[in-house]
């Protein structure tokens, strides 16, 4: 097909639109001036200020703990869900379960946040648990939407996986659990890692749901950032953003490399067999 000018132009425009704001944010984090967008010289002083701010450091620590816990619980539950829906062809409530797992993916955050908060309040007045809201209620809320993302990632890997490997192990007398640990787990491992990482970053990023279900003294990092942005210009947010974007770029690089390696293996093997 003849290569036109339209598609490349649109792609260049689109990628510029996606990246220009982020790049300018990173550049201006090294700006000495308090006016974020007026350049007056290179400086690392906002980074210094950032690491001297106990509120931000505390919130960052809390957010990392919450993200670690929610991503890990969500990894287990989301993987179980993927196995149930991909490998068990028929069971009662299957359609219902399939609906429930994908709904949190697109449910507006304000609804998820409000509904969980109302649940926690109702449960507290009925059973006295959870007593108050804080880290634990945030972890429960984050786990619920993270498991949907883990499910999507793991499910697509399970669908693509060669099922004859599992069947062969089963024919050789291995129990289902043994098959899972020895055969399935190593094959879907890259998907598990990217699912966990996805859950981790989504949990780190969540503002709306956390705001509903958090309690006094449990402000996560996005909540602190949001209130800082609301108050006006704050160059230290630029510094913080640059650190986070750097870490994410690193993480995505590693995850993509892992997934590409996972995908390439079977193809390269086929290629060698054909030669």
């Amino acid at each position: 097909m003849r290569k036109g000018w339209f598609l490349p132009t649109a792609a260049i425009l689109g990628f510029t639109f996606l990246y220009a704001p982020i790049i300018s944010l990173v550049v201006f984090s090294f700006n000495e001036n308090r006016l974020v967008t007026v350049w007056s010289g290179f400086s690392l002083k906002w980074y210094g200020e950032l690491f001297a701010d106990p509120q931000i450091l505390g919130a960052a620590g809390l957010s990392l703990q919450i993200a670690f816990a929610s991503a890990s619980i969500a990894l287990v539950l989301g993987t179980l869900m993927a196995i149930a829906l991909v490998r068990f062809r028929r069971f009662r409530g299957r359609t219902m379960l399939a609906g429930m797992i994908s709904a949190p993916l697109v449910m507006p955050d304000v609804i998820t946040g409000l509904s969980l908060l109302l649940l926690f309040v109702a449960m507290e007045s009925l059973f006295g648990w959870p007593a108050g809201r804080g880290t634990m209620t945030i972890i429960i809320a984050h786990t619920t939407f993270c498991m949907a993302y883990v499910f999507v990632v793991v499910q697509s890997r399970l669908v693509d996986m060669d099922i004859s490997l599992e069947e062969a192990a089963m024919d050789l007398g291995a129990t289902p659990l043994r098959v899972f640990i020895d055969i399935t787990l190593p094959i879907i491992a890259p998907a598990l890692i990217s699912g966990w990482l996805l859950g981790f970053t989504l949990s780190l990023d969540d503002l709306v749901i956390s705001s509903f279900v958090s309690g006094p003294g449990s402000s996560t990092l996005p909540m602190v950032i949001f209130s800082k942005i609301k108050l006006g210009v704050s160059p230290d947010v630029n510094a913080l953003a640059t650190i986070i974007i750097g870490l994410v770029a690193l993480g995505v690089g590693v995850a993509t490399a892992l997934q590409l390696r996972g995908q390439r293996k079977p193809y390269s093997r086929v290629g060698r067999a054909q030669k």
């Binding site: 097909m1 490349p8 649109a10 792609a11 425009l13 689109g14 990628f15 996606l18 990246y19 220009a20 704001p21 982020i22 300018s24 944010l25 974020v36 967008t37 007026v38 179980l80 149930a84 829906l85 991909v86 068990f88 379960l97 399939a98 429930m100 797992i101 949190p104 697109v106 507006p108 955050d109 304000v110 609804i111 409000l114 509904s115 109302l118 649940l119 309040v121 109702a122 007045s125 429960i140 786990t143 619920t144 498991m147 499910q155 669908v159 007398g173 129990t175 289902p176 659990l177 780190l204 709306v208 705001s211 509903f212 950032i225 949001f226 953003a241 994410v248 690089g253 993509t256 590409l260």
Partner: protein, 316 residues
């Protein structure tokens, strides 16, 4: 080949099998556990909460903890009285604030979805047609913002569009007066397209990359011009991708809170922001719950469409 095969019974003493036998003894198969654990979690923390929201939307605001009246009151002699207030829903239809916020959200989400489609489609098509090496690089460039903090990307836009922001400084070089972009509906459109563009591109890409090039060549051989080929072949075949991408932008955009609150002006009414204010500023939990139910009604059809697409990929 003179080694005798291991007797099969020996395997019964391996740890995996012992664990499975122990579970089976208390009446649980591994299969049931695999299904039950996530099913119970989702029922308790997803399904029941939605029912609770519906219940509380039928109560009324009162002072105290929790700040809503209970639906059931237990009277003397074991009578139970059920009190349902429809006032919250009546208010949603009679108060112009809610009606215009509702309509405005749908309008903003729909227009932003169309813009995102117009921008995302050529990008997805370009990536799908790129050479293998470039395709992976470009895909990663689309995925990277998707992993980057949503809040920080909205913040990056404020730095871009502010009165003394990057765009206005750039225009100033040519002697153009600063444009007012922040705190307008325009900024909200830009914000939604900017943050949700990867959600539009990825499903479109997945669809377009599977497009059989032979069809395009056949069409060209038969003398069709490129735009004709596009309208007759590419576009109809990519409808599933268009639907999936559009839903992934439209549904979250309807309930968006962060973008209108950071980029929009005081006049940018959106239903997610109204819900937030009802809850946090007015502490009117029943009203907020009613707003949530009203929002669910709008998004439930697109969500069902999404789920059908989702279960289709699972069945595959």
């Amino acid at each position: 080949m003179n080694q005798a095969p291991k007797p099969l019974e020996r395997q019964g003493h391996r740890p995996w099998q012992r664990a499975e036998q122990a579970l089976r003894r208390i009446g649980l198969s591994g299969r049931a556990l695999v299904i039950m654990a996530p099913a119970i979690w989702l029922t308790v923390f997803f399904l029941i909460p939605l029912a609770v929201v519906f219940g509380i939307s039928l109560s009324s605001k009162q002072f105290g903890r929790p700040p809503y009246s209970s639906l059931l009151t237990f009277g003397e002699a074991g009578t139970v009285q059920l009190t349902l207030h429809l006032s919250n829903f009546v208010k949603l239809f009679s108060d112009s604030l809610y009606v215009s916020a509702y309509l405005n959200s749908i309008k903003i989400a729909a227009v932003a979805t169309v813009i995102a489609l117009a921008l995302g489609y050529p990008m997805a098509y370009f990536i799908a047609r790129a050479s293998d090496r470039w395709r992976n690089v470009l895909l990663m460039l689309v995925i990277l913002p998707f992993w980057t903090s949503f809040l920080l990307r909205v913040y990056a836009l404020t730095g871009f569009m502010r009165g003394n922001g990057v765009i206005n400084n750039f225009l100033g070089l040519f002697g153009i007066d600063p444009l007012i972009m922040m705190q307008t509906d325009f900024a909200v459109y830009v914000g939604i397209v900017y943050t949700y563009l990867p959600f539009m591109i990825l499903p479109l890409y997945t669809n377009l990359v599977k497009l059989d090039e032979a069809l395009l060549e056949a069409s060209a051989d038969l003398g069709a011009r490129p735009y004709r080929t596009f309208l007759a072949i590419t576009l109809p075949l990519s409808v599933p991708g268009i639907v999936a991408g559009s839903m992934l932008v439209f549904i979250p955009a309807i309930g968006e809170f962060v973008i209108p609150s950071l980029l929009g002006g005081p006049g940018t009414l959106m239903i997610g922001r109204v819900l937030w204010d009802e809850f946090f500023s007015n502490t009117n939990w029943p009203r907020a719950a009613a707003v949530a139910i009203a929002m669910l009604v709008v998004v439930v059809v697109p969500i069902m469409l999404m789920q059908r697409a989702q279960s289709a990929t699972v069945e595959r």
